[in-house]
């Protein structure tokens, strides 16, 4: 090894850095990815109307099997803007719940009464509102509500 002043071997530093970066990705990764799949659609997928939007998106994002997810809100902004709610772009309070400062374009899908497993039909409602999300390690992992 290279002569030095008694500090750790460079390889040790390298190992520590790699370990640190991988740890930072592991735990909130899966939940954050699910949050994106379920709640972020940007740019908004183009469809004939909001009802068909919901029927298609709920199906595409895996929320209709085996049970029709009762309600779900899609946010039509880039993921990084949604992420920012957990940092500077939101007001956080207890239980890691953070309210966005800005209002976002949203489509909220609610299951229609005639639906049952295997046949999920939805109603869509478009609005521009602030939202509340739960954050874990500065990443949104749960959509709490439209404010």
């Amino acid at each position: 090894g290279a002569p030095g002043l008694g500090g750790p071997h460079p390889l040790v530093f390298l190992t520590l850095i790699l370990l640190a970066t991988s740890l930072a990705q592991v735990t909130p990764g899966a939940r954050y990815r699910q949050f994106l799949t379920r709640h972020v659609d940007f740019p908004k997928t183009s469809t004939t109307n909001d009802r068909i939007y919901c029927n298609l998106l709920m199906q595409r994002r895996g929320m209709t099997r085996p049970i029709c997810k009762p309600t779900n809100t899609f946010i039509h902004t880039p993921a990084d803007q949604v992420q920012a709610i957990c940092r500077h772009a939101g007001r956080c309070h207890r239980q890691n719940l953070c309210d966005s400062n800005a209002a976002f374009r949203l489509t909220t899908c609610r299951v229609a009464p005639g639906s049952h497993p295997g046949r999920c039909f939805y109603r869509g409602r478009v609005q521009t509102r602030q939202i509340r999300v739960a954050c874990n390690r500065l990443l949104p992992i749960h959509f709490d509500r439209v404010l």
Binding site: T27, I52, P66, I67, K69, P70, T71, P113, G114, F143
Partner: protein, 456 residues
């Protein structure tokens, strides 16, 4: 052999593979696969060669009229024996109806046609009906939801009902029809030739004014076992008229959907009477009607009658609170036929659920499926729920979505899931916020219990 693909973009090489396997498939489903008119050429040739293909679903693909024209070419070949065809939301217009009509008047094998979410319009549906009327046509199920039908279409549909004794199910929901048009339909329905079993007229702009005629149909046609008039403001007067028909001994109704009909507690006396008299009635939906506790209590009286044979009850979003849960508990303690109870969207809270759990624990209760989503529940009711989960072996499905159960509540449920008496197969926990630790615990738990699926 079944081919079933949903929500997938298919590369050229994958498409070639699929065409190959389609040639020997019995059922093919390619839902929302970015198919286009050009895909229809290939599918058309499959249709003309595969004699075993009996079901084809191509919903949610921009096939367009030209695509359907190509499909119909394949459908028309004598060797094609297709029975069921789904083309919902395929960007079709009246232009393709001539082709579809030809298929209807030629293909005796075709028993089901689903064309919802296509702007066929008055003229398109008229052309379609011409094919329907052909003696060769043996169609059993016709679905035209959101097809922009108008009252003008109902005369021909009425004729079809009069002549097509093969027609078992008609769904024309979500088209602006109105009372006059529905009365016309009723005339067709009453024809001795008509054997319709299932009729869906949801959101068809019907009011109490047509309910007399619908009631008459119910009282004359034992074949009609399924009726849905959901999302029509028929109100209490409308339901009263329907109930008159329902109570007739000729009526053998099994499934009745009256969701979002503008009903109030006043409807519940008649409905209760139907529940306690009509032994054929197995499924009722009253979702989205302000029945309130008073109305629910009346319904419960009917459900306690030994003649009540209801198996599934939907009372989501009916303005119920804990106050009516005493009566629900009483029903659960006496009624042995109820298997499914959907009560979500009511502010019954922990107190209400605790009473319901007591009812479920009664040995008389054979409930299999309990839905309590969005019911203002908290960790406090999880002890009662845990007791039910670990005791009631007949309970296989439980929904607690959209309730703030918190880690505390979830922990209690997890303990119960581990119990050997727990026979739960599906635990639905959508939109409940819990910690990452709880998330991990649930994953581990699900893996350790083979029959259990946790849906979140």
């Amino acid at each position: 052999m079944e081919l079933n693909i949903q929500c997938e973009e298919l590369s050229a090489s994958r498409w070639t593979e699929l065409i190959s396997s389609m040639k020997t498939s019995k059922t093919v489903r390619l839902d929302d696969c970015s198919l286009s008119a050009s895909s229809c050429k290939d599918i058309g040739s499959v249709l003309s060669t595969n004699q075993t293909l009996s079901e084809l679903t191509l919903s949610n693909n921009e096939l367009g009229d030209s695509g359907v024209e190509l499909l119909c070419k394949g459908l028309m070949t004598p060797s094609c024996r297709l029975q069921k065809l789904w083309l919902q939301n395929c960007n079709l217009t009246d232009a393709c109806c001539k082709n579809l009509s030809s298929v209807l008047s030629t293909k005796q094998s075709l028993t089901e046609l689903h064309l919802g979410d296509n702007k066929l319009g008055t003229s398109g549906v008229k052309v379609l009906c011409q094919g329907l009327m052909d003696p060769n046509c043996k169609l059993e199920k016709l679905q035209l939801e959101y097809c922009e039908l108008t009252p003008d279409n109902c005369e021909m549909l009425s004729s079809a009902l009069r002549t097509k004794s093969s027609l078992k199910a008609l769904n024309i929901s979500n088209n602006k029809l109105g009372d006059a048009a529905v009365k016309l339909l009723c005339q067709g329905l009453m024809d001795p030739n008509c054997n319709l079993q299932s009729l869906h007229l949801e959101n068809c702009h019907i009011t109490a004014a047509s309910c007399g005629d619908l009631g008459t149909v119910l009282s004359m046609k034992p074949s009609l076992i399924e009726l849905s008039v959901g999302e029509n403001k028929i109100g209490d007067p409308g339901v009263a008229l329907l109930c008159q028909g329902l109570l007739n001994p000729n009526c053998k109704i099994e499934k009745l959907w009256l969701w979002e009909c503008g009903l109030t507690p006043a409807s519940c006396k008649d409905l209760s009477h139907v529940l306690s008299t009509k032994e054929s009635l197995t499924e009722v939906s009253l979702i989205g009607n302000e029945l309130r506790d008073a109305g629910m209590e009346l319904l419960c009286q009917g459900l306690k009658d030994p003649k009540a044979k209801l198996q599934a009850l939907w009372i989501r979003e009916c303005g119920l609170t804990a106050a009516c849960c005493k009566s629900v508990r009483s029903v659960l303690g006496t009624n042995q036929t109820l298997r499914e109870l959907h009560m979500g969207g009511n502010k019954i809270g922990d107190a209400g659920v605790e009473m319901i759990c007591e009812g479920i624990l009664n040995p008389n209760c054979n409930l299999r499926s309990l839905w309590l989503g969005n019911s203002e529940l908290s960790a406090a009711c999880c002890r009662s729920l845990a007791t039910v989960i670990s005791t009631k072996q007949c309970l296989t499905e439980l929904d607690l979505s959209n309730n703030s159960l918190a880690d505390d509540g979830m922990k209690k449920l997890c303990e119960a899931l581990k119990h050997p008496n727990c026979k739960l197969q599906q635990l639905v926990l959508y939109d409940i916020y819990w910690s990452s630790e709880m998330d991990d615990e649930l994953s581990v738990l699900e893996e350790s219990i083979p029959g259990l699926k946790i849906i979140s």
